[in-house]
């Protein structure tokens, strides 16, 4: 399983890098889709079908909206000129990437073997969760019973997003 996930992750990285450098914006959007749908397969391989369903639907809707935006405006990327400011920014970002790699490497050394990692809290949730919550699906039991505040926060985030879109895009109120 680790090999297949590694292959999919390499595909996702290649897709993300291509999306940054594509000349045609439509192909950049499609390359973004590689990242999303690769994540769907990763979720399925990691035995998280709940997340995979959400991810595949949200990815499709997002792609539709982004393709509509690209077809509506322009398909060509803006020309960017490289000046000293840009070179300094690139040097800073490379230093940051090197630092991140170093600290990730140090922290990965102290992790458990892939798949063997369980924390005490998760064990407390898993044992007897069906009797405690009455829900046969453990994920739903966790997100609506043990972690109810979390779910409320997520729903409020979506509500706020819709509110923000309605507020920013309306024309009539501005007159």
């Amino acid at each position: 399983m680790e090999q297949s996930i590694s292959i999919i992750l390499i595909f996702m990285i290649v897709g993300a890098v291509y999306a940054l450098h594509a000349k045609d914006l439509l192909s950049a959007v499609i390359a973004c889709g590689i990242v999303g749908y690769g994540l769907v397969i990763c979720f399925l391989l990691l035995k998280a079908p709940d997340l995979a369903i959400v991810q595949i639907v949200v990815e499709t809707i997002t792609l539709i909206i982004m393709v509509a935006v690209v077809l509506d405006s322009t398909r060509h990327e803006l020309a960017v000129q490289v000046d000293t400011q840009g070179i300094i920014n690139q040097i800073i970002s490379f230093i940051l990437i090197a630092g991140m790699f170093y600290f990730f490497y140090v922290s990965i050394q102290s992790l458990d073997v892939f798949g063997a990692h369980t924390v005490r809290m998760a064990n407390a949730y898993i044992e007897g969760a069906a009797e405690k919550t009455g829900s046969a699906n453990l994920v739903t039991g966790v997100i609506f019973d043990f972690r109810g505040y979390d779910t409320l926060g997520e729903a409020v985030i979506l509500y706020t997003a819709a509110l923000g879109v309605m507020t920013l895009l309306r024309i009539q109120g501005k007159k």
Binding site: D145, Y149, E154, A155, A162, V165, M166, I171, Q172
Partner: protein, 145 residues
């Protein structure tokens, strides 16, 4: 936005209801099988988006629907908070307490208040995504005219 060709319209007529039903299934069986409010709500919103993309914004009275979907969204999130708040008055007095009877694990009507949370979170997610999409469609046409 204009509608698409006759093939797309016909296939949409056949598929749209099935996608909508599948979303309802995912929501109502959220406590038994993978899925739940977020996934099912996104599927329901997807069925409406498919309908709007295929038939164009002229075929449906969208200006009325954006108001209704935002009202639905607000009412759904309010009901979720009210269900959670009702935990203060029954059984253990905790916010988000599961105060309804649990029933048998694996039955359709079981798990206390969790199916209610699923249904109203699903309603909220569906109408939120639909509101965002409708706002993008309608307000662009308003700015053009």
């Amino acid at each position: 936005m204009e509608g698409m060709s006759i093939i797309v319209k016909k296939v949409t007529q056949l598929l749209c209801g099935i996608i909508f039903l599948y979303g309802i299934y995912i929501i109502s069986h959220g406590h038994l099988t993978p899925g739940g409010g977020f996934a099912g709500g996104a599927i329901i919103a997807g069925s409406f988006i498919l309908l709007i993309l295929a038939f164009g914004s002229d075929a449906l009275n969208l200006k009325k629907e954006v108001i209704e979907s935002s009202i639905t969204e607000s009412i759904a999130i309010l009901i979720v908070i009210l269900i959670a708040l009702a935990g203060f008055f029954f059984g253990i007095k905790v916010f988000f307490a599961n105060y309804l009877p649990r029933g048998i694990v694996g039955e359709l009507i079981s798990a206390g208040a969790i199916p209610l949370y699923n249904i109203f979170i699903g309603l909220e997610v569906a109408s939120a995504i639909l509101t965002i999409f409708l706002a993008l469609v309608i307000f662009k046409e308003e700015s053009q005219t």
